[in-house]
Amino acid sequence: MKKYILMALLVTVSAAALCGCKGNTKKSGNGSVTVGITQDLDSLDPHKAVAAGTKEVLYNVYEGLVKPDQNGNLVPAVAEDYQISTDGKEYTFKLRKGVKFHNGKEVTAEDVIYSLKRCAGMLETPEAGVNAVAALSIISDIVTEQKDGTEYVIIRLKEANTELIGYLTCSIVPKDYTDLATKPVGTGPFRFVSYTPMKSFVMEKNNDYYGEKAYYDKVTFSISESTDAAFLKLQAGEIDVFPYLTVDQAEQLKGTYNIEVGEMSLVQGLFLNNKVKPFDDIRVRQAINYAVNKDEILQMLNGGKGKKIGSGVFAGFKSYYNDACTDTYTYDPEKAKQLLKEAGYENGFSFTCSVPSNYAYHVQTAEILVSQLAKVGIKMNIQLIEWASWLSDVYKGHNFESTIIGLDSQLAPSDILKYYIGGSAKNFINYESSRYDELYSKAMSTTDVSEKKELYSLAQQCLADDAASVFLQSPSLMVAVKKGITGYKFYPVYVQDMASLRPEEKK
């Protein structure tokens, strides 16, 4: 009897193994695309999601009044046009006609007002879990107006602010729709199909889209727990697009994939706690800046790609990045040693760098820095910590000596530069400069564009001169796109635009 059971089991197992050989390759219509991502989504409700990895997926499903384009401009989306009053206190949006939600209903001014209020935390009964965008708290009132059959939405502010437009990418959702977290409904070029935690997010083409429609019928975001796991899927040809390749991986995939190279909208830096000895001494911070060889970092991590930076703005934010800061500190170990000597650290010192272990890229950066700093007699000890600990100890608690992280932002200079305002909770490096604070607040409130640029440039120079930290680079972004697919676009914000993908024309 036992023998038969064993036999039956053996047959089952081998049959199961054989089934594995067959793959299913059904094709109909315009086909589908699978995109690899390494961060699971934190919420399907756009006003509850906080992770950049979630926003780049949801970009395809939801849209705001405006949305970012490739050059970092904000172009009309649900709104057809907009105007900012000269005093910077009133934003008027002309709503586009005939924009439909994925449930078939037309977008009304009511929906827009509801969405903005929800996002700003202005609803009469704020919903639990909605992360009100702090910058939107300067809105005093949102009203609607009808003119010649066209609907307008007018946003009034408590104080002048011309940068608020960068936050009005906030998703427009149907009024009082309560299933956003499970059945997202937006206006984007793709419609939500299904989501399985730790596995996939599936969406289909929205044929009613008002703008240029997507080509592919179905797009699946396939979730892997790490770049390595995703790389296995890439090698097996299971993924068509993968945005987070390392240099080595890109090299290995060249035969089957096109490697597109862009830049991340990230300020990667070795951030120094300005309140902790010896980083409270500007000479020490400057010495570290001179001791770091950014070219070598770019070479080792990105194969020479990416952009060196010298201030708290990422290089891709071209209209605001102050390029003069890039070379404030050129690699000069002798000068570093001299500065250390002046500061009383002739024999160097040692310090701890707390690096979030889930970011392999930052960990590798740390390893390179260890050897660079050793050359001027500084001993950097890497301490790997979990992301949750980074958030609570480093970011919230300001309890660290140094860390390596990448800072991202909305398309507003005030957003990426807010980390250095004196006394702000976000100023985790404890940088203090009354001049910086003054420049920042002036820049923020002015309505004159060229004056604004000038002031933000000065503010960045201030960060560089004070060696607030070591601003390293905007890392390169290497994307694998399967041969036969074209149209992958890079954006200066976290976005995976799947509507732009097209099959390659056959010659």
């Binding site: 594995g20 935690p197 730790m198 596995k199 909770a425």
Partner: protein
């Protein structure tokens, strides 16, 4: 009476276990509210969420609240996935059970014939080679084997697509055929252990008097192994197989990561990193109950066996 005492002690073990995890989580750095809200939230927002999640209460109050919920069948809500913990279990438990079950089947299917074969020809070249192979396979960590299997069988021989896991509810057949490979990674080191165990158990049995009697009656070697040695050795194997099962449960946590299987093991790792307390606690409870109940059952079986002799 005895049974009641046993169940009581098992329940006590579960409670102690859950409290220990609870305390470990309370000591661990990192804050669930801050992790959920990320870098953009204001301190006030984080504080409000902490309050909402009940994180500001004393550890004992929180533990009491949690265990009260569990007793009412409410495992709580996942802060990472914003859904009831029971939903996540429903989605992932079957995958994990299938994986564990398949691994166990593979262990049985491979190790019994091999063990018998080695015991039939002890000291032969094949046996010695087998003992050597056993040592090697036992020493390979499961995750490493998983990577090797992915690369060789998956990418090299294209027997399966690494990472293209199909959940049980999307199709049981494709799900099992994918799970065969992670199951193999879990099973191989355990097969080696089981074979070694069986071999020595059978050989010990072989020394006994009754074997000579059986031989003198004219029974063949295979018949002796199958009819006399195996049933006797099997009694001893029960304890051993129990240990193997709890090791499969533990091993699947790592293997699920390697193969991207949507199971409880992967869920555990994700939720520890995100300080998703309710999910972690429920998972610890699940793993703990399996191990404790398994041990209890084995103990009872062994005692019964002892009584009969």
């Amino acid at each position: 009476m005895k049974a009641a005492r046993k169940i009581l002690s098992m329940a006590a073990a579960v409670v102690v276990l859950s409290f220990a995890t609870f305390m470990a989580f309370a000591i661990l750095p990192g804050d669930a509210a801050q992790t959920k809200l990320g870098t953009e939230a204001t301190p006030e927002q984080v504080e409000a969420l902490r309050e909402e999640m009940g994180l500001n209460d004393n550890v004992f109050v929180r533990y009491g609240r949690w265990i009260g919920g569990v007793l009412h069948g409410n495992l709580g809500t996942s802060s990472r996935f914003n859904c009831p913990v029971s939903d996540l279990f429903r989605q992932m438990l079957p995958n994990t059970l299938l994986l564990a079950g398949l691994a166990f089947v593979i262990i049985l299917v491979l190790s019994f014939p091999l063990g018998m074969l080695y015991a039939r020809y002890p000291g032969s070249i094949g046996d010695r080679a087998g003992v050597f192979a056993n040592q090697t396979f036992m020493a390979i960590p499961g995750f490493f084997l998983g990577i090797i299997i992915s690369v060789v069988l998956g990418i090299g021989l294209k027997l399966f697509i690494p990472g293209a896991f199909v959940s049980y509810d999307e199709g049981l057949g494709p799900c099992l055929s994918y799970l065969f490979f992670p199951a193999l990674s879990i099973a191989i080191p355990k097969v080696a252990m089981t074979v070694r165990f069986l071999r020595s158990a059978l050989l010990t049995e072989k020394q006994k008097e009754y074997v000579r009697t059986a031989r003198s009656k004219g029974l063949g070697e295979w018949e002796i192994i199958g009819k006399h040695l195996l049933p006797n050795a099997l009694a001893a194997s029960v304890t051993f197989l129990g240990v193997i099962v709890s090791e499969i449960v533990a091993g699947s946590i790592v293997i699920e990561q390697v193969f991207g299987v949507n199971g409880l093991g992967r869920l555990l790792v994700v939720c520890v990193a995100n300080r998703d307390f309710d999910v972690v606690q429920a998972l610890v409870l699940y793993i703990g109950i399996i191990v404790i109940v398994l041990n209890g059952v084995i103990e009872t079986l062994v005692q019964k066996g002892g009584d009969n002799e």
